[in-house]
């Protein structure tokens, strides 16, 4: 091949576009291919005579409404409480900050399959039957989700606070502003400005949450309106759990496929609508609203629809108000309502919530109350884990009871080869972290350099976020088996990396966008290649986002449960998650080994927490030491 034939190819790589290729190919393999595989291999299952009735299945719509409500409540509570706790922490003295950061990192690093069974156990001990009523059950999953999300939200808010110039804080102090005024005028607007996509990612993740309802309430109790010939929905059945229960184990393929298709389209619609609202693109808003009308919900959302229309009228003008009226009209005709009101509620609370210091006298109470509550509950769980791990008995001792100290459960771990599981988890986490570092930052930088790639990058990241999940797991199993990579760590690494990709891409891209382009220009003039610029010039500056990206991916890999269960068939490769689930994670176990479970949880969390610990150095870097 002559040099002239190779020229376009070489030019492509010399201009740095080549850095985008690995990310693109991996996304193609992990997201696009399995998705189309799933779609085309199942489309023949569609029985068009039955599709309308399955599409209008009340159980599915109830789950949809519950998920949106769950996502709204948990997201708002997490951010409202998390931002305030972060604000308090920001002003804490150094030793308290260190103590709190250890607690935060410990619970951030504790995978849900460990923390939730303990949460469930302690909550059941204190509040008895958690599924005795629909409201109790729904409140349980909301509390569990908020508790799980708070460490990440607090860490996120603390890192956002680094953007506030020290001089501004000093001037505010000299002007005599109160804490509440400082929060509402300086801190909250900074969070709102920085968190747009982060909030949307959270919102979508919570809609399709499987873990919390699965481990806390099993979707129970069933609601009268949620029991249809096609599916069963309880007051804590989120859409993710709905799919797990009603689609994965559903032998009737028409019902299963229609359900999965519905949920996939709904997630896409929710995402596009939120983006349209955030970006204020009216054309897209109209599309979002009208398409939203296709996803009918139950009638109690009419009130919210009214609020939605009124607020849109006031905020966005006549055009959007008309669109909402159209939606309400459609909803009236079909006796039901779309998810739009829920979405708008979330958007309004998160992005348009008054930044003015209204109600400041109430400000002083919530941060302390929420902070104390979070610390108290986390301390109770930590105490339970420690006490059970260091006791002799298998059942969890009561909160205030005394039991003799013993290391017997740690020797059980040793005998069961738990350290092989630990080593495997370490490899899985490290592999996922390294692959993420190798794929995502180069792609984000290539996207930052070339506008055409920016659109591709964002599109791929969003596509991955919205459209992958339980539906792509089985096609991936087939693909990896066919290429001879079944029963290796590689599929688990790649799926963990793929889960991190949307968050990682947007994180690195946002940081790169905010950087001075002069630095890379100078390096280019000096003759550095794009790869050299990335590794030698940008990487040292990007240490914090790269560390966050690595840790996020590492923890995703470390705590993954479903992908090791599906891809690995050899006990020599099993990670900690499978071993601990075997001890006590499974709620149907006849006699769980809580002692071994808590000992394993402690070891596992300690390793992950130690790895995450360097993060606190950056998070509290510029605290003002008031």
């Amino acid at each position: 091949m002559t040099k002239s034939a190779l020229f376009p190819f070489l030019r492509f790589f010399n201009r740095g576009k080549g850095l985008f290729v690995p990310f693109f190919l991996v996304s193609l393999f992990l997201t696009v291919l399995p998705l189309f595989w799933w779609l085309f291999s199942n489309v023949h299952q569609l029985d068009f005579s039955r599709v309308p009735s399955i599409w209008n299945d009340p159980a599915l719509h109830l789950s949809k409404s519950l998920s949106l409500l769950y996502s709204c409540i948990t997201l708002c509570l997490s951010f409202v409480l998390g931002s305030r706790i972060a604000y308090l922490l920001f002003h804490f003295r150094k030793p308290f900050q260190l103590g709190m950061s250890v607690l935060l990192l410990f619970f951030w690093a504790l995978p849900p399959f460990i923390s939730l069974p303990i949460f469930r156990l302690v909550a059941a001990e204190l509040f008895s039957n958690l599924v005795a009523s629909p409201w109790k059950s729904f409140a349980t999953i909301c509390c569990a989700r908020v508790w799980l999300d708070l460490p990440l939200v607090i860490l996120f808010c603390l890192s956002v606070f680094q953007k506030i110039p020290r001089s501004l804080l000093d001037s505010a102090k000299m002007d005599g502003v109160t804490r509440a005024q400082e929060f509402f005028l300086l801190f909250q607007p900074t969070i709102v400005r920085s968190s747009g996509l982060f909030l949307i990612l959270f919102f979508l993740n919570n809609i399709r949450d499987v873990t919390v309802p699965w481990l806390m309430t099993n979707g129970r109790p069933t609601l009268a309106g949620g029991f249809s010939p096609y599916a069963i929905t309880g007051s804590s059945t989120t859409l993710g759990f709905f799919l797990k229960q009603n689609a994965v184990f559903q032998p009737n393929e028409t019902i299963a496929f229609t359900h999965v298709l519905f949920v996939t389209l709904l997630l896409l619609q929710v995402f596009l609508t939120l983006i349209a609202l955030e970006k204020k693109r009216k054309g897209w808003q109209l599309v979002g609203v009208v398409s939203g009308a296709l996803f009918f919900g139950n009638a109690w959302g009419f009130l919210l629809a009214g609020v939605y229309a009124l607020a849109c009228w006031k905020q966005e003008g006549f055009f959007l108000g008309m669109a909402i009226s159209l939606e309400v009209l459609l909803a009236l005709v079909f006796q039901t309502i779309s998810p739009l009101p829920f979405l708008f509620l979330a958007w309004f609370v998160l992005f348009r919530f008054p930044a003015k210091p209204r109600g400041t006298r109430f400000f002083a109470i919530p941060p302390w109350v929420s902070g104390t509550l979070w610390i108290a509950w986390s301390a109770v769980l930590l105490w339970t884990i420690l006490k059970t791990a260091l006791s002799q008995i298998d059942i969890v001792p009561s909160l205030f009871g005394v039991s003799p100290l013993s290391l017997v459960h740690f020797s059980t771990l040793w005998e069961d080869g738990f350290f092989t599981n630990l080593r495997n988890s370490f490899w899985i986490g490290s592999g996922a972290g390294i692959i993420s570092l190798l794929l995502i930052p180069p792609a984000a930088w290539a996207a930052r350099m070339h506008r055409s790639l920016e659109k591709w990058g964002k599109g791929i990241a969003l596509f991955t976020l919205v459209l992958t999940g339980m539906n792509t797991l089985v096609p991936l199993l087939v693909l990896f088996r066919e290429v001879g990579l079944g029963n290796t760590f590689l599929p688990v690494w790649l799926t963990a990396c793929n889960r991190t990709a949307p968050f990682g891409f947007f994180l690195v891209f946002a940081v790169l966008q905010g950087m001075d382009p002069g630095l890379e220009e100078s390096a280019r003039v000096e003759g550095a290649t794009p790869w050299q610029i990335l590794v030698k010039v940008l990487a040292p500056i990007l240490r914090l986002p790269l560390l966050i990206l690595f840790l996020n991916s590492f923890l995703n890999g470390w705590s993954s449960f479903l992908s090791p269960l599906v891809f690995l068939h050899s006990p020599r490769l099993f990670p900690v998650s499978l071993r601990l689930y075997d001890y006590a994670g499974n709620s149907t176990l006849a006699y769980p080994q809580w002692g071994a479970f808590c000992a394993g949880a402690l070891v596992s969390a300690a390793v992950a927490c130690t790895l995450a610990f360097p993060l606190q150095k950056w998070v509290f870097r510029t605290q003002p030491n008031l």
């Binding site: 156990l121 005795a132 129970r220 290796t488 068939h569 176990l589 006849a590």
Partner: protein, 376 residues
Amino acid sequence: MKKVVLLFALVCLGTANVLASITVWVSWEGEDWFRQVAGEFSAQTGENVEIVHFPAMEEKLAMTVQAGGPFPDVCLVKTDLFPLLDTLISPIFFDQLSISPSEIQELGTQAFSQEEALMALPLYADVQVLYLNRAVFQQAGIPLPQLEDWDLQTLQNTMEALEAQGTTPLAWGLNSAYIFMGLQDGLGSPLLDPEGNFQVDTPENVVLTKMLLDWFERGWIADYPQRPPLVKAFQEGKVAMMPQGSFLLQTFQKKGLDFALLPFPSPWRTVIDPKAFVVFHPSPNAWKLLDLMERRSHALCAQTIKIPMWKTEKAEEIPYLPFLLASLQNGVLQPQSAQFSNGYWPAIRGALELILYEKQTPEIALSIAQQYIDHQ
């Protein structure tokens, strides 16, 4: 950076798995026993056997079946997983085994046969029994019910007396189809209608669910949605009686708990839950391994207190076996059909939750449950 890439490539290569000669997937109790027999087999034949214990066998098998593999050579399953696999597994070839069909308990043959071919090699079975905490009865000053006059009326009288003493008389996960199935087959209508379909919407079942609702409202029965808190409450003396599988016997025995056993009061029937090996990839050595496992199974049954599915001369080594065999007489087998696993099971759970917590009338709840089952 080159070093990182190199290290990473080495790890990739390092994790590449060398497949074992025979792979056996197991779940539930007896992991150590399986490894021990596999070790013995390897020593005898030189063939490597990998025992893989999966904590979530249902999820694992469902995903693997959807993906079309990879399947192990042999897998231990229970009856409700059987419909998922019946087209993928090999029938049992007795000419490859040193054991004969006549050595299998009739119950085992019945549970795993399809069109007169045995599709899985039965290993053991659990049955449901009623556990009674002696200390609770003692504290309440109520004599333990005796087997001679043990019937539904005695159960109700006992519950009433215990409730009057402020104790929770009887508890289980009230939405459990695993327990309701035996109640329905004994006190309601038969599980299957004459056409062989699962029936729940019947006048007899309406009466049965009304009775359960009445017990619930009187405080005679309590709901423990998850098994671990129920077992803990029973151990701590907060619950006097609980209907559960015999798989708890070994744990209670190890813990030295002072408990008594009774069969379910007639006509409430006990549900029989057998486990068996299915063969995905038949090979001479896979058959030999199964042969050895079946021959050694009495040790597993003695260790974990199970009913052996093979006629064994060492039955006296298995604790409680006479009691468990007597319970079998009033037993009903878990059916092996997709309509049971994916229809009856979730539908009953939903219907019972509606009746107990949503105050739905049994007539409506059972009618919706029937529609759900019919759509599967």
